[in-house]
């Protein structure tokens, strides 16, 4: 096991491409995450964000290029790259405590039961859910479920925390609370975090670096924007900060310019049908007609009819 060179990035994507059948989702993606960094990747819906984070986690392997963790290629998923799923993925037949215990028990099978239980309780308390320890996911709100998911991932003690649009399914108020929790946990534990989001404000609030993901297909990462706002960042004060507004403008600009779809021009010979416009100057009647009325459609024709004399 070689010691990692201090200059080597913790997590790296080098020229990664991924296709699903005919759909070329990601193309030539380059990413480099240093230890202790908070990187936010921001992009449109359907641009391949979940594919990207699955490759980072090791659930998918790239078709071209390489995904590297600590300098070595990623062979598969593992607890060192802890993934918080977009859909929480809590096992519904287990309580909150049992869900977190699943992670603790599989990571530390040799610990005595009391120590494992203490670890579970510690992580549940870390996300402020001690009161709901014995409830099942069906009895929890969306925000609480996402916290359990975060607690479970933190219980794996990962080197990198991967968050796949963790708050997109929540309302704005819960989102604000959970963003603050993530910021607090990150501050207290100095973890490396990669956050996938579609909200520029969230990215600027939490991250050290924001990287836009262009629109799919063939999505790639655009140039990264460093966020030089000082910590701790208060969302109320940030609104006033000109630095924040400038950064926000830059992020949105880069997203919009990278999101412009390439257009192609097609020239074809078309035979246009003969059309005459409906004549609106003619008085309308109440009877339903099968088609529009044209100016020359109605004509008065006088016909002489001879009575039958027999």
């Amino acid at each position: 096991m070689n010691a990692r060179d201090a200059s080597m990035p913790l997590l790296e994507l080098a020229g990664v491409s991924k296709r699903f059948g005919n759909l070329h989702v990601l193309h030539d993606v380059h990413l480099s995450v240093e230890e202790g960094e908070f990187v936010a990747i921001i992009g449109y819906s359907g641009s391949g964000k979940t594919t990207l984070v699955s490759i980072l986690a090791g659930l998918l392997s790239p078709d071209a290029g390489e995904a590297r963790f600590e300098g070595r290629p990623i062979a598969g998923p593992g607890p060192e790259r802890g993934l918080v799923f977009q859909n929480y993925s809590l096992l519904p037949w287990l309580t909150v405590r049992e869900n977190v215990a699943l992670a603790v028990d599989s990571l530390h099978p040799d610990w005595p039961a009391a120590e494992r239980a203490a670890c579970v309780d510690r992580h549940v308390a870390m996300v402020n859910l001690s009161a709901a320890r014995d409830r099942r996911p069906a009895e929890l709100s969306g925000g609480m479920r996402q916290r359990v998911s975060v607690a479970r991932t933190l219980a794996m003690d990962p080197r990198v925390l991967l968050l796949d649009e963790p708050f997109s399914a929540l309302d704005a108020l819960t989102r604000a609370t959970l963003q603050d929790e993530i910021a607090r946990i990150r501050r207290e534990q100095r973890r490396t975090v990669v956050l996938i989001t579609n909200d520029p404000d969230e990215a600027l609030l939490l991250a050290d670096r924001v990287i836009p993901l262009t629109r799919g297909p063939r999505a790639t990462l655009g140039p990264s924007l460093p966020v030089t706002l000082p910590h701790p960042r208060d969302r109320r004060l940030l609104q006033e900060s000109p630095e924040f507004r400038k950064l926000r403008r830059e992020v949105i600009e880069s997203l919009l310019s990278l999101g412009a779809r390439p257009t192609t021009t097609v020239t074809r010979e078309l035979v246009l049908p003969d059309l005459e416009p409906e004549d609106l100057s003619l008085p309308r009647t109440w009877t339903p007609r099968s088609g529009p009325r044209r100016r020359r459609e109605r004509q008065s024709v006088a016909v002489s009819v001879e009575p039958d004399s027999n």
Partner: protein, 295 residues
Amino acid sequence: MTPDPLTSSSLPVAAATAATEPPKPRPAASRLSRGFARVDWIVLPLLGAAFVVLLWYLSSATWAKELPNPTRTWEASKPYILEPFAKRGELDQGILRFTWLSLVLVAKGYAIALAIGTPLGFLLGLSAPFSKAFDPLIQVLRPVSPLAWLPLGMILFGSWKGANVSELAALFTIALCAMWPTVLNTAVGVRAIPQDYLNVARVLKLSRWKTLTRVMIPATLPYMFTGFRLSLGIAWLVIVAAEMLTGRPGVGGFLWQQYNALIYEQIILCILTIGLVGFVLDRLMSLVERRFKSA
């Protein structure tokens, strides 16, 4: 730190209402309608049953002269019902003894069906090549009636020395017919496990055995129980046919034997017993199912 509204207990505290005044008399209409609702549940089924009994009387008097009418049926069935545990001969026992004999055989056959069917269902759900190899065969074997499997069972076990051939053949038939709902429902359940749960297991690097026992089996349980319930219904159906063909003592055997002895009164009794027991088994199974589904 401000208290987080999301974590504080949200159980509403029921306000205690002090009864300071006597309860107001309820309007007559609602009391009458509540009474009717209760009466509905008892009176209407009784009316339905009475209608059927009336049809029975009419039928046995007119177009089905061989069918004994309800009075004669009751008279002839009385010894079997009122002495349900008596044993006067191998094929002349109280109705509950017969039921017990049938149930014992059903239990054995059902257990075999589940023991074979559940792993088979898992294999079908997990492995696409296995499914492609055996699914056509299963679809062909599924509609085969128990009456066709029984002779095959007799042939297969006929050469075993000292074996109770008719019992083995009956077990074979029950297992083979009752297996299919379990197999197919389990396979569907395995295929329906959300990929996210499996991804969680992969990220946690759970062993294959742990993934199976801690993630896949609990996720498939609701489907498996639907299969179990359907399988129990089929097993009970098959036992009657199996007993009729092999002449074993049991509800079906009794029915067939009475028919052959030209004593028709007990046939209706047997039919009612078979139906009632099937209904009770189904209810019990759905209670078990509900308990597991809520977990």
